[in-house]
């Protein structure tokens, strides 16, 4: 039992050390950029994991919250000169408010209304921002360039600081996922995913807990959006409210394994490497190829291993063997 816990812990330690040393060894900007994207999408996959994985409610519009985070941060910086860190927090609050407005009517009814409503919301918000002069309309906003500092969340000479911030945020979201999985919230979310009526019969207010899960997802996704805005220093509706972001977030989680912590991380490593790899190999001509490969991967996963890579690895480690199930009477 001790060895079984020690070995993964040691592995994680080595992995973390490797990730910390990485930007010092690999100083080229492009590999660092790929790693930052992997962290960002792993983080957003883990954010989606709370509503979609634990609570089993499929959201297809997470870009809404990505964009809300990005715009809140940039506008507070542009108009009020507030630090992007403050913008991040305000963005998360805004995201929670929007998630409640959408979630309350949707979670009171069963079925796929929620999934459809999330797509609709994404489109509505994108349209509003595209036609809203104050936030730059379709042209978007350039982030005011400030002196390089942690407080300003801007670094112009190297990507390494962004790398560490993204890594730190990812670790935070991982820890939150682990905590959720072990807490009352996690049990309730999984109960709701498994059987809503049974969950209600055990005293769980399912509407309330779905809204809590969705609010957590929204807040964490908006943090990703805030970070993205400060990293790219330019946002417009088509880049931060893109449906492709919503989709990629879901793919990352589904490919790796929903409802697990490792799943979205593995999914992000595979999908981001794949899309960046095909881009590098094929240049401009390969623009759609990464998406075609996603498609094939998702098809393969859903046919061969619907529970994702994590479940597949687990099934390899623990071969199925017929088990004797003893029916015992109540303990004497």
């Amino acid at each position: 039992m001790v060895r079984g816990r020690l070995l993964p812990a040691a592995g994680l330690g080595v992995l973390l050390l490797g990730l910390i040393v990485f930007p010092l060894v690999v100083t080229l900007p492009y590999p660092q950029h790929v790693m930052i994207l992997i962290f960002l999408y792993a983080m957003m996959g883990l954010a989606w994991n709370i509503i979609g994985g634990y609570a089993g409610q499929v959201s297809l519009g997470d870009a809404t919250y990505f964009g809300i985070g990005a715009y809140t941060t940039v506008i507070l910086l542009r108009d009020l000169g507030l630090s992007p860190w403050v913008g991040m927090l305000v963005g998360a609050v805004n995201a929670v408010i929007v998630s409640v407005i959408l979630g309350y009517p949707c979670f009171r009814v069963r079925g796929h209304y929620f999934a459809i409503a999330t797509i609709a919301l994404n489109e509505i918000v994108a349209t509003i921002f595209t036609n809203w002069e104050y936030v730059g309309g379709a042209v978007g906003i350039y982030v005011p360039i400030l002196p390089e500092s942690f407080i300003n969340l801007q670094f112009h000479r190297s990507k390494a600081p962004y790398y560490y911030i993204a890594l730190g945020m990812l670790i935070g979201v991982i820890l939150l996922n682990v905590w959720v999985g072990r807490s009352r919230l996690g049990y309730y979310f999984r109960a709701i995913r498994a059987d809503q009526d049974a969950a209600r019969s055990l005293g769980i207010d399912i509407t309330r807990y779905k809204m809590i899960a969705y609010a957590m997802t929204a807040a964490l996704t908006s943090l990703g959006g805030s970070f993205y805005a400060m990293y790219v220093l330019y946002i417009d509706p088509t880049s931060v409210f893109a449906f492709s972001i919503s989709l990629l977030v879901v793919l990352v989680a589904v490919l790796g394994g929903v409802g697990t912590v490792a799943g979205p991380i593995i999914g992000s490593v595979i999908l981001i490497s794949l899309s960046e790899g095909t881009r590098v190999l094929l240049g401009g001509t390969g623009r759609a190829l990464d998406v075609a490969i996603y498609g094939l991967l998702v098809m393969a996963i859903s046919v061969l291993q619907p529970y994702g890579i994590v479940a597949w690895v687990r099934s390899l480690r623990r071969p199925r063997k017929p088990r004797e199930v003893k029916v015992a009477g109540p303990a004497a």
């Binding site: 999984r190 019969s201 769980i204 207010d205 029916v327 009477g329």
Partner: protein, 251 residues
């Protein structure tokens, strides 16, 4: 006589043209084990669903500990102290037996560590300790039903509604389940209302029996009285069973 734990008064439930429950009135007293019997389609499960908030009754009211709980949502009714199982098992698939029971235990113990202790105790009492870490998906039906009972018990109810927990069990499993219901009453002090088809189970286990037929309560009383009630015999038991039961020496 103490105050009733549960009072159902004039309860009616209609599905289109079908009157599933019609003016049903009865009371359950603390510490009792009450059997609810009746032929298929008599409205037993409908009655359960009305009491536990899954259906909203069309008429009448349900009182629990003197509080009118008619029309409350199921989760609120559970928090008030009524737990239930389902006729068709609804365990949480993808979770282990322990995790299933944890979901129940967390209701009164928000701290997972404390809830885990409660869950372990309940698993012990229900004889599920050996299967605690197995996914419920692979458990045989008898154990799935027991997981459901354990899960509801973990919410710390005052009243437990069991919907056909003996159905589909072999005689040995059934005996274990009967023993478990006895322990639920004696060791946990939980009052039990059980829907059951298996007469050999209901009769010796119940203090009182309520009989439904076509949504109407046709009899209520001690098992011995009910068994000899001509109305009940006609509706449900059949004279052959009554004769056989008499030969076995009754309760």
């Amino acid at each position: 006589m103490p105050d009733p734990l549960l009072e159902v008064e004039g309860l009616s439930k209609r599905f289109g043209g079908l009157l599933a429950n019609q003016d049903v009135t009865f009371a359950i007293y603390p510490g009792e084990v009450v059997g609810l019997i009746g032929p298929n389609g008599a409205g037993k499960t409908t009655l359960f669903n009305c009491i536990t908030g899954f259906y909203r009754p069309d008429g009448g009211r349900v009182q629990f500990e003197g509080v009118d709980i008619t029309g409350w949502p199921p989760d609120k009714i559970c928090r008030a102290g009524i737990a239930r199982t389902f006729q068709v098992v609804r365990v949480f698939r993808g979770l282990t037996a322990f995790e299933n029971v944890m979901v129940g235990a967390l209701l009164r113990n928000p701290n997972p560590r404390r809830a885990a202790e409660v869950a372990r105790d309940i698993l012990d009492l229900t004889g599920l300790s050996a299967q605690a870490d197995e996914l419920v998906d692979g458990l045989p039906i008898a154990l799935k039903k027991r997981v459901e009972m354990a899960r509801s018990l973990a919410t710390g109810p005052k009243l437990l509604l069991l919907d056909e927990v003996m159905a589909g069990l072999n005689p040995k499993e059934r005996q274990a389940a009967v023993e478990l219901v006895r322990r639920i009453r004696t060791e946990l002090g939980v009052t039990v209302l059980m829907v059951e088809h298996v007469m050999e189970v209901v009769m010796p286990l119940s203090d009182r029996v309520i009989v439904l037929d076509f949504g109407v309560k046709i009899a209520e009383g001690r098992p011995q009285e009910v068994i000899n009630n001509p109305e009940v015999i006609k509706a449900y038991l059949g004279e052959r069973y009554a004769a056989r039961f008499g030969r076995l020496g009754g309760v």
